[in-house]
């Protein structure tokens, strides 16, 4: 506690003042830092519960990306003939698909969990104070374990496919952070909207379903640029996952898959815009969460 100074307002030494907040509310990073343990504990709880309940929990985290990869590789690589078009062998195409699937599935899960997180914690929100931003953020983190399991599979498939290991691989965490930011940014918007408008939860599966086709998961994004030109590619890059997935592929497969950086820039800009606007919207909506949830 600070000692009261003479000749100042008698209220100066109060540590906290509660009053109505008006206008835009900034994010209180100091407070978030003080509550960091709660953040980890909530993520820990989600992870513990997820893998405790189901023996299948871990198996599921392995099977989901693996089986999807098999199906996509057969359908798109073989049947649609994407792999020949790009002059790739079947094995490399499998790696390409998995390198797209992992960030996509992380993003889709994390965004969905995050969007439902506030409504799912309505009990805590109406009974305890803590910075509400922690809830959607910790929901995103809990998806990271599935991602880590997926990475192990990816490395296995890379060895099987005989892909040469790239130094770029060290950049993987950077692109993971970008995927995290993308999921969190959309999670911020949707979780806060979901508190007020309960039909938002129907939008999430729609985004996941459409997003799978609007993202270069089963095909390399260079196909889009070659076919439709730069303008369309910029529009395509408005989908933040385009940049993330391209980045992942580059890390895993190297030089030939270098992202088209101006397009990547567009994706990053979209994520940044969503993140800042999402945080501001969330902070503004936050004060009525307990009243309407």
């Amino acid at each position: 506690m600070t000692a009261p100074e003479p000749h100042v307002n008698e209220l100066a030494d109060y540590e906290r003042v509660i009053r109505p907040k008006k206008g835009l509310v900034a994010v209180d990073f100091d407070e978030l830092w003080r509550y960091r343990e709660l953040f980890w504990f909530l993520a820990w709880r989600d992870i513990l519960v997820r893998y405790k309940q189901a023996v299948l929990g871990v198996a599921w985290a392995v099977l989901k990306p693996f089986l999807t990869m098999v199906v996509f590789t057969i359908v798109f690589g073989k049947l649609a003939g994407f792999s020949e078009k790009k002059g790739m062998n079947f094995e490399t195409y499998a790696v390409l698909t998995l390198a797209g699937l992992l960030p996509w599935q992380f993003f889709a899960n994390a965004m969905a969990e995050s969007s439902n997180s506030l409504v799912g914690s309505s009990n805590m929100i109406s009974k305890i104070y803590f910075p509400r931003l922690i809830i959607p953020a910790s929901a995103v983190i809990s998806g990271a374990v599935d991602f880590a399991i997926g990475l192990v599979i990816l490395f296995g498939v890379m060895i099987w496919a005989g892909v040469s290991w790239q130094l770029h691989l060290l950049l993987l965490p950077v692109f993971f952070l970008v995927a995290f930011a993308a999921a969190f940014a959309i999670g911020l918007w949707l979780s806060a909207l979901n508190v007020k408008y309960r039909d938002v939860k129907y939008i999430v599966p729609f985004i996941v379903q459409m997003g799978l086709y609007a993202s270069p998961v089963a095909f390399p994004s260079s196909l889009v640029r070659e076919k439709f030109g730069d303008t369309v590619f910029f529009l395509f890059s408005l989908n933040p996952m385009v940049g993330v997935i391209d980045g992942f592929r580059w890390c895993v497969l190297g030089g030939a898959f270098e992202p088209y950086w101006p397009g990547f820039g567009v994706s990053i800009a979209v994520i940044a815009a969503l993140l800042v606007s999402g945080a501001l919207y969330f902070r503004g909506a936050e004060k009525t969460f307990a009243d309407v949830i």
Binding site: I18, I128, Y197
Partner: protein, 400 residues
Amino acid sequence: MAKPIISVRGISKQYRLGAAKSQDTLRDQLMHWAKSLGKEQADASESFWALRDVCFDVKPGEVIGVIGRNGAGKSTLLKVLSQITEPTEGEIYLRGRLASLLEVGTGFHQELTGRENIFLNGVILGMTQAEVRAKFDEIVEFAEVGKFLDTPVKRYSSGMYVLLAFAVAAHLEPEILVVDEVLAVGDAAFQNKCLGKMQDVAKNRGRTVLFVSHNMAAVQALCGRIIHMGGGRVLGDGDPDTQIGAYLGEVKKPHTGIAVPLGKIIECRQLEFSPNPIVSGQPLEFTLELGAKQRTQLIDCAILIYSVYGQRVAILDLRTTSGQFTIAPDQPFRCTGRIKHFPLVEGDYRVGLFMNCSEYYSDYHDLASLTVSAATKEGELAPYAAHFRGLVELEYELKF
């Protein structure tokens, strides 16, 4: 003179009733915006003030009881103090860490073990992991769950569950502790244990405590000062005996023709006893009428009878074997009943309601009061004074 640790200055809280109801899906909201394009926005939503210009100061170490009828604003005040909801007007100045216990077991997860829940709940309530670890043995000992530490709490009995939940909260060490009616759950042994702990926290450790309760005995035992609220305002503030007296006097006044809201949907339109006052041992009739703002199912309902100090004496269970009642704006729920020999000892009783509809359930206190007067028995010994005789008048015969 110590400076106040909490200074509440002109706090008001307004809730909107209509706005949230009319557009609670995004689709409706978009339609609403589309329709109102170019038109002046007429805000037809109803609002009400849950708190109105509340002011008080709390000195360090004070233990304050907050009492009042349902809808007096007690819980809203605690929610504003603990920053769960924001005031519409006014300011609160705080010094030191404030922890709130508005419900036992917030954040408990059924699938997790007792041990895991102690850590999780402790951190949720505002302890650091290191603090929980330091207090861990004390919490386990208080909760008496040693053997079941590694069992998921879904297998706990409800008594063990609430005791564990309370134990975690009771070992918080904030400068200011804000407690809502948490003692309403659990049995008498639990309540005694919790009251003892609260007494210890308040008296021996010098914490500042704000405590909401309908249990006047508990309030009287714990609190050195009482804030009496009604209609969102502070009606009285000061000495416990005076404030409790004023509150009990208020409870005795009948509600006439005013529907009392029971949560968001249900309202109590009538809860009456006839005759009132009733002579002990005589027949008593009661009438209950509930209305609803929207169609819902009334799953359970019971009239609760409490002693003046808030101890539950009896209930009148209104369930039937034929199932639930539908209740709607044009279809109230109405029930009358008769008790052949009303067996309570003379005195004042407070009447509440337990109500469970499809959307929520809760206990509601002090919806009515009932005065029982002494039966005059000619040709018999004068009975002992009422406070010696407990609460129930038994019918019995003697042989010598």
